[in-house]
């Protein structure tokens, strides 16, 4: 089942179109990367899903139902621009946020205590937020996002402000939530995070969707049929089948070459060809990183 499907979402502001007929579907129980450069419309889309603003046209279905007010409790949202009430005590704050999400006071208290135990932070219960360090506050913020057990969790740049240790704690938590059946939407610029965590990605550029699919599919689509070969002894043959685009010296007789394959030939065939001209030490297919795909698409979009 799809956790969320958006069909032809359009949102205009006075001076510009923030989203132009964006459609996407997010499979359940996956970690979904929402990518795009600044100002592409990611935050607008997230705000529409959170019902903070309404789309001008288009439809959003959440777990098979039209998005409506009651879904607020099923979504946990960690915005990029986030904060807590500085003067309020940690415990009161968590309970209050959970109550706003629709939990009863009793449930809210129990759950916030359970989460604080989990993060080993029960001692902070009576502390004011302004007395916490930034990392501590981020943990509390994360708890407030997930404590009401939402089925869909939306995280906008979740790791900004975390040190590597805490980032790892949160990563583990996100994976655990996925195991439990949550769907996570991840909006970020950090491609290494996408590489590590995301199953599916969508990329928005200039208000339009430019890419969608599972990470493997996307990489398959954008691979350039290039291979990196390390070999002893140089060669410089260009044939109908392959083209040597780059060759650099690694040692006395060691070289690294990048070879683009023109026609549909299997890697085996290429190796066979190569062994006739040089001594192959390593042979790797060049798979594009998410970062390369991202930059390519954004730059390509700008050249239009």
């Amino acid at each position: 089942m799809e956790a969320l499907t958006a069909t032809n979402i359009t949102k205009r502001f006075t001076n510009h179109v923030a989203l132009d007929k964006v459609s996407l579907s997010i499979p359940e129980k996956t970690i979904f990367g929402l990518l795009g450069p600044n100002g592409a419309g990611k935050t607008t889309l997230i705000r529409i899903i959170n019902q903070i603003i309404n789309a001008d046209s288009g439809e959003i279905m959440l777990f098979g139902e039209k998005l409506q007010e009651k879904h607020i409790g099923e979504i946990g949202y960690l915005p990029e621009e986030r904060g807590l009430y500085k003067k309020l005590k940690v415990g009161e704050q968590l309970v209050y946020f959970a109550q706003l999400k629709g939990l009863s006071k009793k449930d809210a208290t129990e759950k916030s205590k359970a989460w604080m135990r989990k993060f080993d932070t029960v001692d902070w219960w009576g502390k004011k937020v302004e007395d916490l360090s930034k990392g501590m506050a981020q943990k509390i913020q994360f708890i407030s996002t997930v404590m009401h057990e939402p089925r869909l969790i939306i995280l906008d740049e979740p790791f900004s402000g975390f040190d590597p240790v805490n980032a790892q704690v949160i990563t583990r938590e996100i994976l655990e939530l996925k195991e439990k059946g949550c769907t996570v939407i991840f909006s970020t610029h950090r491609m290494e995070t996408v590489e590590d965590l995301c199953d599916h990605v969508v990329m928005i550029n200039k208000s339009q969707k430019v890419l969608e699919g599972s990470k493997r599919e996307v990489k398959e689509t954008y691979k350039t049929n290039a291979y990196t070969v390390e070999h002893r002894g140089s060669f410089s043959i260009t044939s109908d089948i392959y083209e040597l685009t780059e060759q650099k010296k690694l040692g006395d007789t060691m070289f690294q070459s990048t070879i683009h394959v023109k026609n549909k030939i299997s890697p085996n065939q290429l190796i066979r060809e190569l062994t006739t001209v040089t001594e192959v030490h390593s042979f790797v297919e060049k798979v594009p990183t998410m970062s390369e795909i991202f930059i390519n698409l954004v730059k390509g979009g700008n050249n239009e």
Partner: protein, 436 residues
């Protein structure tokens, strides 16, 4: 609705649980009677221990009859020159020289002092002499003391207001103006103090960036209304406590220092026949009390609460909108202007003409226009306002509050999510027009 209540409750508890609230709520009503008590105490002490200043006088006209209520007068027998030398060597206050004079044109009377004589002192001595001269003139005209006494009459005008039903009601414009002024000032203070708190709260939520987290759970409108209602309840609670504490304490202070409050005097008057003079004073106080009690107090209280809440809501939403538009309190200035002006107009009009001419067209209009009506109407209400005006004003206030809340809500929902934009009135209009 449930969420508005949750937010209102949170806001209420946040403020009420603060130490500053406790201090303000308990200290302010304490400070007021304390200052009064200190002043009364000082005044009393001074009265008890004050020794009257000594004034020597040389009376060559043989007319002066000293009145010792204010000064101790000592006659100096001898010429002025001697008196001056003696005065120079003494530590006394003054030397009054009265040369022989014509009753028709008293001149040459001189007061010598070492320090500048206060206007009060000069007036006192002048009136002493004037009374004396008046008496002498009367005597010369052969008018006896009995006749003089019988010429003295004390006129008191009783004002009676005829209401539409033909009922007569004695009215006292001092009491009414007093009520009008108190209610008007209270309203003005309340709207400003709590309006500013709403604004500050919104700015805090915006700068601490907690707001986006909140609006993913509740509508921006719910957040705004919850804040307004929560803070308004704090205000009502605070004012109620103040009024109760102040009344109690003020009576306590009066009681302790033996100064009789009007009510107290009235009670004494009822319980026992006091001396004639005291009775006269008391009856005046009693009249004031009666006037006060004869006013439709329940109705006035109802109107006060209505305009209190209505005015607060009308302006509260606007304050929230201003808070949502800016990133720091310093930027609020340019948007405060249109909010401050109608409040200031109604406040100044209250003193300039509403209390004096409560039925003038300007007063009537100000008390009907929603932005000025909370203060203006409270200034008029005790004087008696035709029912149609009250109903019209109240309906317009409700309509006005709905409209301002609607406008403010539309600006607020966009404003709270905007950071670092340079906001002008044009931008506000754009936000207002923006679709959900």
């Amino acid at each position: 609705m449930n969420k508005i209540w949750l937010i209102a409750r949170r806001e209420f508890l946040n403020r009420v649980q603060k130490k500053s609230f406790l201090f303000a709520t308990i200290l302010i009503p304490l400070i007021f009677p304390t200052i009064m008590a200190v002043l009364v105490y000082v005044a009393k002490k001074q009265n008890e221990h004050e020794t009257k200043e000594v004034i020597y006088y040389v009376d060559e006209s043989n007319t002066f009859v000293p009145d010792t209520s204010r000064f101790t007068f000592r006659k100096f027998h001898g010429p002025l020159a001697d008196a001056k030398t003696a005065f120079d060597h003494s530590k006394d206050y003054g030397l009054l020289f009265i040369p022989p004079f014509k009753l028709s044109d008293p001149s040459g009377i001189t007061l010598y002092t070492k320090e500048n004589a206060s206007i009060d002192d000069i007036n006192n001595i002048e009136s002493l002499l004037e009374t004396r001269i008046k008496d002498l003139k009367m005597k010369r005209m052969k008018i006896g003391q009995k006749l003089l006494d019988s010429l003295q009459t004390d006129v008191k005008i009783k004002t009676i207001q005829v209401t539409e039903g033909g009922k007569e009601r004695s009215s006292n414009s001092i009491v009414m103006a007093g009520i009008g002024m108190a209610c008007g000032i209270l309203m003005y203070m309340f709207i400003f103090i709590y309006g500013a708190q709403i604004m500050q709260g919104v700015i805090e939520e915006k700068t601490s960036k907690v707001v986006e987290v909140i609006v993913s759970s509740v509508r921006p409108f719910q957040l705004m209304m919850g804040k307004i209602i929560g803070l308004g309840s704090v205000g009502l609670l605070q004012f109620s406590i103040w009024i109760i504490l102040m009344t109690t304490l003020t009576f306590g202070v009066f009681g302790y220092f033996g100064i009789e409050s009007p009510q107290h005097q009235a009670l004494q008057q009822i319980s026992a026949d006091a001396a004639a003079q005291q009775a006269a004073v008391s009856s005046k106080a009693l009249n004031l009390i009666n006037e006060f009690l004869s006013l439709p107090l329940g109705y006035i209280l109802f109107c006060f609460l209505f305009y209190f809440i209505g005015g607060y809501f009308l302006y509260g939403a606007l304050f929230a909108a201003v808070g949502s538009a800016v990133d720091s309190p310093a930027e609020t200035q340019q948007f405060m202007f249109p909010i401050t002006i109608p409040l200031l107009i109604s406040y100044l009009s209250l003193f300039m003409f509403i209390l004096k001419a409560h039925d003038s067209p300007a007063s009537v209009w100000l008390s009907i226009i929603p932005f000025t009506s909370p203060i203006a109407m409270m200034g008029r209400i005790a004087f008696g306002v035709p029912l149609w005006q009250v109903l019209l004003s109240m309906s317009l206030l409700i309509a006005g509050f709905v409209v301002t809340t609607w406008i403010a809500g539309r600006i607020y929902r966009v404003g709270i999510l905007m950071h670092g934009t340079k906001v002008s009135y044009k931008v506000l209009v754009k936000w207002f027009l923006q679709k959900g």
